[in-house]
């Protein structure tokens, strides 16, 4: 095993591998930072290029796009409150507040360092623990996934926003919105009011942009901020002291993100929210979270990037892709003549280790590329408000349209923009709604599967046979503690 690793390590140290990986990272970052373009689209479009490259060059190229794209998504989230993916929602909260305070460069630096730290640690953990993780992955079936998702939703509702009751209302609303469309198990149409446009449900991206970015645009216009001091807006770079202050949070989030990555079907969105919630709960000053707290950015970014390592495990050891990104990677592997699955390590051990090592190297390369390009991005906000605001509106509409070229999505964008403005003025936090909307379908699916597995009695199935029961038992005291702390704990909590 160690010999294979050493051989793989040597294979990864190639100049063309590094070069293509850097190109991938840069391309991914650019695409990811444009609202409406997703990392997944970039990977799918550039996939054929990897067909014509050697495995050890082509696959790292795709990995570069992936990693660059995830960071790219947090750039508009921080700068103009426009999260292009669910994973960047948690980042946008404190990140955008920091930008408003003229600290956009600090926020982007923190996002970069936390991302690289989270990703590198989880990749190394994955390389060492590959086979134990594979065993663990197998333990998660629909009942367990349902229990974990339910727990996640309750934690998010209990910890986000200022008022747990308002959060819960918003989450319920988000869950209801997620039910609109076709029932994923039975194929029955629900709440579509007979409209074909709603048959596939409400699309996430227009909702995200509408509910987060448009209210910000509106408030800037209403406040009529003409007198921003432009020169001061970019702010200073992150200091080492600030990074060290957040290190504990970054490590905690890395552990949470890695854990979330092991559970198939959870993903980056849950990881980011869990990391954020945990940091807020552990903090002596939870009231600063949501008001421009560097720790908030660090917590979300370290967690969502730490998911990346373990998601490779089912792909490499079982040949089963856990999400769309790994499905594209599977295609790249197979087209190269490498068949992920039980025999991959025996047949192609060195190549696999080379690819894993390349994942770690990609992070380090990205540290350099990201660090050099952040000044360019952060300067965006120094554009005059009278130009920036039309530009943001254009990004919002153009991004929504390019997402899938459907004019109806623009109506959804505007509807959620208006909803976001009303919710903001009524002091309702939209985050729990978005989380309910994103996690609702997975939870419903897992519940339906559990019901199908047990022949119609999901509750009995939980309590008797599965580790799902264990997950529920473990979750109860955690949730109880969180709620208790929130309601009666520190009176300072706003």
């Amino acid at each position: 095993m160690f010999e294979m690793f050493a051989e793989g390590f040597a294979m990864a140290m190639r100049l063309d591998t590094m070069a293509l990986m850097s190109i991938g990272l840069f391309a991914g970052m650019l695409v990811g930072s444009l609202p409406g373009f997703t990392t997944l689209m970039a990977m799918a479009i550039l996939l054929p290029i990897s067909f014509f490259l050697e495995p050890i060059v082509g696959i790292p190229f795709l990995l570069g796009i992936y990693k660059g794209g995830i960071f790219g998504g947090s750039v508009p989230a921080i700068l103009i409150s426009m999260p292009g993916t669910g994973a960047a929602v948690a980042t946008s909260r404190d990140g955008y507040k920091l930008t408003q305070q003229g600290k956009s460069r600090k926020a982007l630096d923190m996002a970069l360092f936390a991302s690289v730290w989270g990703d590198t640690s989880s990749d190394m953990f994955t390389i060492i623990m590959m086979f134990p993780i594979a065993v663990l992955v197998m333990q998660f079936g629909p009942p367990e996934l349902f229990a974990v998702l339910l727990m996640s939703l309750v934690i998010i509702a209990a910890t986000s926003g200022s008022n747990p009751l308002k959060s819960l209302i918003m989450m319920m609303f988000g869950l209801w919105l997620s039910f609109i469309g076709t029932d994923p198990l039975g194929g029955v149409e629900r709440f579509t009011f007979g409209l074909f446009e709603l048959k596939s449900g409400i699309p996430l991206l227009p909702m995200l942009i509408g509910v987060f970015a448009l209210p910000e645009v509106a408030s800037v216009i209403i406040r009529n901020e003409k007198s921003r001091k432009l020169a001061a807006l970019v702010g200073e770079r992150l200091t080492f002291a600030e990074f060290r202050r957040c290190l504990k949070t970054i490590c905690r989030s890395t552990a949470i993100g890695t854990g979330v990555g092991i559970v198939p079907g959870l993903g980056q969105i849950v990881a980011a929210m869990m990391g954020y919630s945990a940091a807020k709960n552990a903090s002596d000053h939870p009231e600063t979270f949501g008001e421009g707290e560097l720790e908030g950015v660090a917590a979300a970014e370290a967690a969502n990037n730490a998911v990346n390592g373990p998601t490779m495990v089912p792909l490499l050891t079982l040949g089963i892709p856990g999400d769309n990104v790994t499905a594209i990677l599977l295609g790249a592997f197979v087209a190269q003549g490498l068949r992920p699955g039980p025999q991959l390590f025996e047949e192609q051990g060195a190549t696999v280790f080379a690819i894993l090592v390349a994942m770690v190297i990609a992070n380090l390369l990205f540290l350099v590329i990201g660090y050099l390009s952040i000044p360019m991005f952060s300067r965006l906000v120094t554009i005059k408000t009278s130009i920036l605001i039309p530009l943001v509106i254009m990004f919002a509409f153009a991004g929504t349209y390019v997402f899938r070229s459907d004019a109806n999505d623009l109506l959804i964008l505007v509807a959620f923009g208006v909803f976001g403005i009303i919710a903001k003025s009524a002091r309702f936090d939209v985050m729990p709604m978005v989380m309910g909307f994103i996690l609702g379908p997975s939870m419903e699916y897992a519940f339906g599967q559990t019901a199908a597995m047990s022949g119609g009695n999901p509750v009995g199935f939980f309590v008797t046979e599965r580790i799902g029961a264990l997950a529920v038992l473990l979750a109860t005291p955690v949730i109880g503690y969180l709620l208790w702390k929130r309601l009666y704990g520190s009176p300072k909590t706003t």
């Binding site: 067909f51 039975g186 074909f196 499905a327 197979v334 199908a452």
Partner: protein, 323 residues
């Protein structure tokens, strides 16, 4: 290595370049004069997406135009299908779909288009035969064991599939109907998760395409009990016909369709390009690596098969939903 890459990239660039140049010159109205969009009514990263990426990276050689993939998932494939049904019938918008979306859905629900009336076949690119799989240490050594156990305990055998009325569900339903047995069909979000359910012991049996099962077959973790069709794929494993399943079932056909009123000469140009693609060496090599066959059938020949599929699926749906 870099030179081959450079050559290929240059070739792609050259094709794209001429495509852009051609689309700007109004003269020479010979089809195709601008890039062609191929709509996939499914999400990114699936087997259709992969097949399409291979097709579109090579077919420009034969069409002298770029072919662009557009993923339009939603409503079980209906969103993308409707988009192409409403697109101009000029050969610049095509649909890359499969037989279950194409011919089965109309019998399950009301569609905003009529698949038989609104589309014609450009080409069937390939087909994948389904296989019945159990774990290597499963008590069911043969398909007969499984059938016997299923009949003895109706609904007691857990079968993991990739979603209702999908590529793994339909053959399972047809098999149940044909053999007079009952499985408990549990849906998963795709073939991958269904296979994982088998591996983790949540399911007793699943189905899958040999291309996605091959690494597990070789590693000895999964055993195949039967494969679709009248001809054996593996020497020692019986076919569906041999175990008593009737009808032409268990094949997923990947097809390129065009809006119904597309002119004959345009369809002919497209079909010829697909036939030529089927003999391209780079194409065959790459599809081979993906584990896909290449069996090009064009135009009317596959349209006849579509009509047959529709009749069979209508009977199946009527049978399954009447209970």
């Amino acid at each position: 290595m870099f030179t081959t890459f450079a050559k290929k990239s240059l070739a792609v660039l050259a094709v794209t370049g001429t495509a852009i140049a051609a689309s700007m010159s109004p003269a020479l109205a010979e089809y195709p004069e601008k890039p062609i969009t191929m709509v996939i009514p499914l999400g990114a990263g699936g087997s259709h997406d992969l097949n399409a990426r291979v097709i579109t990276s090579i077919i420009p050689t034969y069409l002298e135009q770029a072919m662009i993939v557009r993923l339009t998932p939603g409503a079980g494939g209906q969103k993308g299908t409707q988009e192409v049904a409403n697109a101009p019938a000029d050969g610049y918008t095509l649909l890359f779909t499969h037989n279950y979306i194409d011919m089965l859905q109309q019998h399950v629900e009301t569609l905003p288009y009529d698949p038989a009336e609104d589309f014609v076949t450009v080409a069937r690119v390939n087909f994948a035969p389904i296989a019945v799989a159990v774990l290597a240490d499963s008590p069911y050594q043969t398909m007969d064991d499984l059938i016997e156990a299923s009949k003895a305990d109706p609904g007691g055998i857990q079968m993991a599939h990739s979603g209702n009325w999908g590529a793994l569900f339909v053959p399972a339903a047809q098999m149940m109907k044909s053999l007079g047995m009952e499985w408990n069909l549990v849906p998963y979000q795709g073939g991958g998760p269904a296979l994982q359910a088998l591996l983790s012991g949540d399911a007793d049996v699943t189905m899958g395409f040999p291309s996605s099962l091959s690494s597990h077959i070789d590693a000895g973790t999964v055993r195949i009990l039967a494969t679709a069709g009248p001809e054996r794929i593996y020497d020692d494993i019986p076919t569906f016909t041999e175990v008593g399943v009737e009808g032409d079932i268990g094949f997923m056909h990947r097809v390129v369709l065009a809006p119904a009123d597309t002119p004959e000469d345009v369809l002919a140009t497209l079909s010829e390009a697909f036939v030529a693609l089927g003999e391209d060496r780079t194409f065959t090599r790459m599809m081979g690596r993906l584990g896909e066959n290449i069996e090009i059938i064009t135009g009317a020949e596959y349209d006849a098969m579509r009509a047959e599929q529709s009749v069979a699926y209508e009977a199946l749906v009527a049978d399954l939903t009447s209970q």
